[in-house]
């Protein structure tokens, strides 16, 4: 006679993880929102959650941007996918001359994602949003089968108001203009790679993930003629320079000796064979300014906490044939457009 099990053989659903059912509308989803998501995003519990939000009129032109965030690993020294999703979108508004006001948040969660991970990401987002004076006002949550996404993917859409008609646009970059960076380059890409590959570096390199709103505001207050501003994300400073060179038709020349690089980033890049100029940033921007305003721009940037290493790194000159040049080792040579993330090399 087979022995009868003494315990109920029906499996218990784990209550510490995201399940497919959480994304299906209905009671489980309502509870996920009410108990786990909304409270952590600062939602007023007296208001029923709604699919759409009515915003007050804004004083000025609306500026809109959107971005998806799929970084792996989810947590890294200096930030996480949550803070990245807030700062990344805020920075896109800031470099366009817009004061960030509201964000929407769309989440795609992997079935099986621990709720503790979700909590951590949401708390980080709330903290980043609060730091920038921005509110997360609408959103959406979906759950997909295990393996469809890597933990979670986030999309944030940011709405701001235009406060600065500058930057005038990369097509207005002139011969003689000066190129600036707001801080040391290559920190985010190095931090992510080392964390993802679990490379035994010590101390673990830290991402520069952070807001650029104060830095852009500083340039505006100093009355600097800014032609172009861009946060140097994927492809690093080099990718931005190539885009600008295409838009303005001039040649951009960078002086390697003047590019600020932290000793950690330098060490990792030498060892793995990367050029810090081609490595991603998430809190550092490139600016093209009128030559006469370069000093004032640098002074203004350096007064902003976290941007004391801002530096002039190059200038704009007439195009002969090569769009972007680097001056190094006493010679100028082409700075090649990166075609994908750098991989560690042996050659």
């Amino acid at each position: 006679m087979p022995r009868m099990p003494l315990e109920c053989p029906l499996p218990n659903e784990p209550d510490d993880r995201v399940l497919l059912a959480h994304g299906e509308g209905g009671g489980l989803m309502r509870r996920l929102l009410a108990e786990h998501i909304l409270p952590r995003l600062g939602h007023d519990p007296s208001l029923p959650p709604d699919d759409a939000v009515v915003l007050p009129p804004i004083n000025g032109l609306p500026v809109l941007t959107t971005d998806a965030f799929v970084v792996s690993p989810l947590f890294f020294p200096g930030g996480d996918i949550g803070s990245l999703a807030v700062y990344g979108t805020i920075n896109d508004l800031a470099v366009r001359g817009a004061q960030p006001l509201w964000l929407t948040l769309s989440m795609v969660l992997e079935e099986g994602l621990p709720l503790s991970v979700l909590h951590r990401v949401l708390e980080s987002m709330a903290s980043a949003a609060k730091r920038c004076g921005v509110r997360i006002v609408a959103g959406d949550t979906k759950v997909v089968p295990r393996g469809s996404v890597d933990g979670l993917f986030l999309t944030t859409t940011g709405l701001g108001r235009l406060v600065d008609p500058a930057p005038t646009g990369s097509a207005t970059i002139e011969i003689g203009d000066v190129l600036l960076v707001s801080g040391p380059v290559g920190r985010h890409g190095v931090a992510i790679l080392v964390a993802r590959e679990q490379m035994p570096f010590d101390p673990p390199p830290t991402s520069d993930c952070g807001p650029l709103w104060e830095a852009t505001a500083a340039l505006r207050t100093a009355g600097v003629r800014v032609r172009a501003l861009r946060d140097a994300t994927r492809g690093g400073v080099t990718a931005v320079l190539h885009e600008w060179a295409r838009d303005c038709g001039h040649t951009l020349v960078i002086d390697e000796a003047r590019v600020p690089v932290t000793p950690e980033v330098r060490g990792v890049c030498e060892l793995l064979g990367f050029d810090p100029l081609a490595v991603a940033n998430e809190g550092t921007m490139v600016a093209a300014v009128a030559a006469e305003d370069a000093e004032a721009a640098l002074a203004a940037l350096r007064r902003v906490p976290g941007h004391d290493a801002a530096a002039a790194i190059g200038e704009v000159r007439a195009r002969k044939s090569i769009p972007v040049l680097k001056r190094a080792l006493g010679r100028e040579h082409p700075l090649v457009e990166p075609s994908g993330a750098p991989f560690p090399r042996i050659c």
Binding site: E197, S321, S339
Partner: protein, 372 residues
Amino acid sequence: MKYVDEFRDASVVDRLLEAIRRRTTRRRTIMEICGGQTHGLLRSGIDAALSDVVELVHGPGCPVCVTSASLIDRAIELARRPNVIVTTFGDMLRVPGSGESLVGARATGARVRAVYSPLDAVALAEKNPDDEFVFFAVGFETTAPATALAVLHANRRGIRNFSLLSAHVRVQPAMEAILAAPDNRVESFLAAGHVATVVGYESYADLCRRYRVPIVVTGFEPIDLAAGILACVEQLETGRAAVENRYGRSARSEGNRHAVRVLEQVYEPCDREWRGLGKMPGGGLRLRDAWRRFDAEHRFEIFTPAAAESSVCRSGEVLSGRIKPHQCPAFGRECTPDRPLGAPMVSSEGACAAYFHHRPDAGPQLVEITSR
């Protein structure tokens, strides 16, 4: 960074270049066989600055470039197996085999990962016992001690899901093949400083004697490269043909005996197909029989047959210095870094890619004046 920055001093490089110009009485032809040196020469502008007094022929020194398409295809086949993950150096990911590259195959489901060190691949294997980890071992004798250590570590630590697909190549047979070719124009070699660091340079003496060519062990920073070229020129101008070491801070004549011991414990020389150059007798390294269970060739049944090379790609002639990259009809046209026909255009150290990026003046429309 110490011992790096000092060897990049541009004013010292300039003075060395001036000395080279003063010393040469006719245009000299010098070959380097090292992708890192090729890149260094081009990036520092030494190649262009000396072009009227020294012709620098960029030899088959990029191990990524000379890895046969067939081996790449085999690595891709392994990477498509459901429980296999192929790990390799980043340089290798974008190089096309006979069709796609490893990174291209990844887009359609192959499991491929770049690592900095083969020992990192062993650590990955240990953390993920449910998958098989194959390390695609590319590189000259500089890299072979690291991959050999990986095998020895996996053995010592009882790691059962790690194996190696060896694509290692040996430099000296290539140097000999180049010198022995009837139309050889190379008068002197810059010998790869890190290969010499591992295996030493005593064996080059035989080449010097038989072919009457100076061979100068050279480093990688601009000062090292200029100093190496100056030493070659010095010897050529005084009719000497000796082995000389200008990278004494790292390379010794007997090499590194610990590295050699590790290398010889795991590997033995074998014949190897060099992409674009054909079969190189003794030009490769393979795992010894004792290490069969770590040899991916034995561990897995791999079906991919030998592949035909592209008929348009002339990488063999570029790698042996017969033509310059821009003299290949496909250069900059059908063949660019984004759509490469062969390895030297996609590898960051390949001669063709280096020319494409650093010598835009050497376009396909220019005809090089090769000798006076």
